[in-house]
Structure formats: C-alpha cells, structure tokens
Symmetry: C2
Subunit: 228 residues, 2 copies
DNA sequence: AAAGATAAATGATAAATATCATAATTAGAA
DNA sequence: TTCTAATTATGATATTTATCATTTATCTTT
C-alpha cells in the first residue's frame, strides 16, 4: 500500500504541515478505499470516526432539503480533505459526499488526527483556516442565491466549475454533471438550467458537447454573472 | 471599568473555558466601546486586530452584493463574539457588523487571544466549534435560499428571529427590524416581504404592531416554512 | 403640533421562473 | 446490436416574484 510520506496529495491540503513521523503514523493506520460512482463517502447525519483524504476522483457535497430536493453545496476533487469539520466540532456529518466518478480515497482514523491537532499547532491552524475559508465561501453563496437571478448564478457556477476542475484536452470543463446536478447547484428547476444553457450556447458564450461544457467567452460569462 | 473575570457574558460563548488568569489578562488589555445604532463594529474587507465580545445590544452581519444590495447573513446579540474567524484565518473581515441599536462591546487585542489559543486547547477548540456551527448553519441557509419560495423563507426567518431574540413583555419578537431588513434577510424585494407579512397577519398567523411582530401560531408558521 | 422626510402598505403590471407536456437524443442493459 | 429507460430539449402555460406608481402611516425635527 502507498505511503503517506510519499503521497503527493499531502502537498495540496491541510496535511502539508505534518511531520515525517506524523505521516508515518498516518500511513500505518490508514486504509485505502475505492468509492464507485454514485456511492457516498459520507452521509448527512451520520457520525464519522476519521478524516478522508481524496487521492483521485470527484465528488459533490449535497444537502437534502425538507421538500426532498438535493442542493449541491460544494465540489471536491483530489487533494481535498473531508470530515475534518465533523471531527473538530464533534458533530454528525452535515453533508452527503457522493462520488461523481470512481474515486480513490484514504481514510485516517480520528485518533491520529486528534493526536496531530494536539502536537502540531500549525496543522490545527490549517484545519481552522480551511473551515474558515469554507464559511467565507458559504456566506458569499448565501448572498448570491438570495439576490442574483438564475442566469447570473449559472454563469457564476460555470466559471467556478472551470476554476475548480480545469479543462480537458478539448478545453471542456473537466467534470461531467447532469443538467439536473447543474440545476441543483444553482438552485433552479432542471428545465430552467437547460434553457439557460441553450441560450448561452446560442449567444456563443459556451459550447455544449453532450454533457461536456466548453467556455468560449470567459469575459462575457463574468459579465453575466455580475448582472450585465 | 468592568472586569472580565466577573463578566456574565463569558458564560455564553467560547470564552467560557478561559482560566481566571487569562480573564485577568483580558481585563487588563481590553477596551470597552459604545457603538451607536447604525454604526459598524467591523467592516467587510477591513483587517482586524482583536476580538469583540458583545455585552449588550443587537447587530446584523451583512454582505454587500456586486449589485449593491445588502444581504443579512446572521444576527448577533449579547454574549456573542465577533472577529474570531478573521483572527484565526488571518484574513480580512468578511462581513459588516452593523448595530441595530446602541451596543456595549468589549474589544480584546489579538495578542491575548492568540496567547490563549496557544495555552488553552479547549478555548481553541471552542472557537473552532463556533465556526464549524456557523458553517453548518450557512450550508442550511444556502439550501433554503436556493430551493424554498419566499413565503417559506419568511416563515423560517420569523421563527428563527424569535428563537434568537426571544419575546418582549407583549410576546412580540424582541428585535426591531425595518421591512427592508427583513427582505434583505430572506432575499426578496421589500414590497414582497411587506405583502407576505400582511398575508400572514390576515391569516391570523402573526400580528403586526408597528415594526414589532408577534407570532400567534408557531405551528402554522413551522408548516409554512416547510412548504405546507 | 405641524411639516417634511422616511417607511409601510397596496394595486397594477411586467419579468422571471416553475410546471406540465411532449419530442428528440443519448446511455445503458439484455 | 437493439431495445428500453433515462436524459436533454423545447413549447405552452401557470405561478411566483419584482418593479413601478401611489397612498397611507409613522417618525423626526423644529
């Protein structure tokens, strides 16, 4: 099994300040998991006894509304970590993490994480910063959901998807989402999302190649996202 | 000037695990401020060099949208703390904190806070839990903004305002907000908020006494907030 | 108490968005 | 491959929400 001290993913997340010894300890206790597309890494309301470090693959963080609708809160990719909020706050998991494609994930038991939090203030601080940043993004999101029209939110979301996942060799945003998932991200009906995507294509701002989306005019999208 | 070791507010927030010595240190360095209605305690984008502990009075945390509209993210009252997120993440303040009435506030310099974070893991953990809980609430809020109609969000907001501020001696929600502020909380036009409040009054669910709002049928409101 | 300013209320209308229906396309399974 | 189911697309319509206009009420200041 791979060794945490060698793992390239640790460079991208809050684990980067861990010492060699700490990473050895993680390595000894960690388990590697394969999560198939559609399966959950974590489930809303469940308790959790460790931290997940994403090696490879993408997932969505969702919340099920009282009316049964799914809201996508955030996207996760390789290098991200999951579950630290729940470990730190000693609360159940708040969101579902559902694989958008097959994933490779490492699970590090809670005990090791808590040990490192005690021993390594910088690690602790990095986790806090991570959560802080999420809160900051969430507040921005509230404001946009509340006040921006659907079209603006769609433009914003497309830009942010390209930011997060980058583009493939055909310059398409490198994640495959259903129209329903796009709708559940921006908070609208699936048909509305489809319609607005079609309009953006008609206007030459994006191109649609099956489920793949290519941004043709980033500036135009940015303007739309800001209401122009 | 009052002494932190005696302060009743410390019982209600993350400061409750501080030792007597730590509180003495806070007491020596703290400053007390009066913030008049309409003034800002913190301003979006500014940096901050300490933590605010609210003694008395209420404020709103807002975000200014790119279109110039104000979104109210959260309400704050006596016993709450402000600024810890910014201190911990070493980022500028993300939200405006604007007094809804005259306030008494204590300011504790950053250095003392950081010392206590180093010395007192439980204090540190409490701050993390506080931010964690805020993140959890924010995620719920995103979901509701995105998927619930305005009427449901208004009902939800009224219940939550009563939860936060309690009721006065006439059973009215104990905070005075303009209709515009209510609209900016639920993310709608002022006229829409006014109209929906009038409807709720007509249906006997709430009573409107000037700016004061009295919840008459909490169950009905809860049902409305869940879409029934 | 009166005057002016601000906020609240309400009606009329327009715009945004959701819903329902149905066709076209795509993906997945036998 | 071929069939079936799911997804995407699009039109028609209904509903929700915003905007504009105007009136009424409330608050401030003198």
């Amino acid at each position: 099994m791979s060794n945490c001290t060698q793992c390239i993913m640790k460079r991208f997340n809050a684990l980067k300040t861990l010492t060699h010894d700490e990473l050895e300890r993680f390595s000894d206790h960690k388990t590697s998991l394969i999560i198939k597309k559609g399966e959950n890494i974590m489930t809303e309301g469940n308790s959790i006894n460790g931290l997940y470090c994403i090696q490879d693959g993408k997932c969505k963080l969702t919340k099920l509304n009282t009316n049964g609708k799914e809201q996508i809160i955030k996207f996760i990719k390789g290098g991200d970590i999951l579950g630290h909020r729940s470990i730190l706050s000693e609360e159940p998991v708040g969101l579902n993490a559902t694989a958008l494609e097959d994933m490779r994930v490492c699970f590090i038991p809670k005990g090791d994480i808590l040990d490192s939090i005690k021993d390594n203030p910088q690690f602790s601080l990095n986790l806090i910063k991570n959560i802080s940043l999420q809160l900051s993004h969430a507040n921005t999101s509230i404001s946009q959901m509340a006040q921006k029209p659907v079209k603006d939110r769609l433009a914003e979301t497309l830009l942010s998807l390209e930011e997060i996942f980058g583009v493939d060799n055909e310059d398409c945003i490198d994640v495959i989402l259903t129209r329903e998932e796009i709708a559940n991200t921006i908070g609208t009906a699936t048909e509305s999302a489809i319609r607005l995507l079609s309009n953006l294509k008609k206007d030459g701002v994006i191109d649609l190649l099956g489920k793949k989306i290519k941004i043709l005019n980033k500036n135009a999208l940015k303007n739309i996202s800001e209401g122009y």
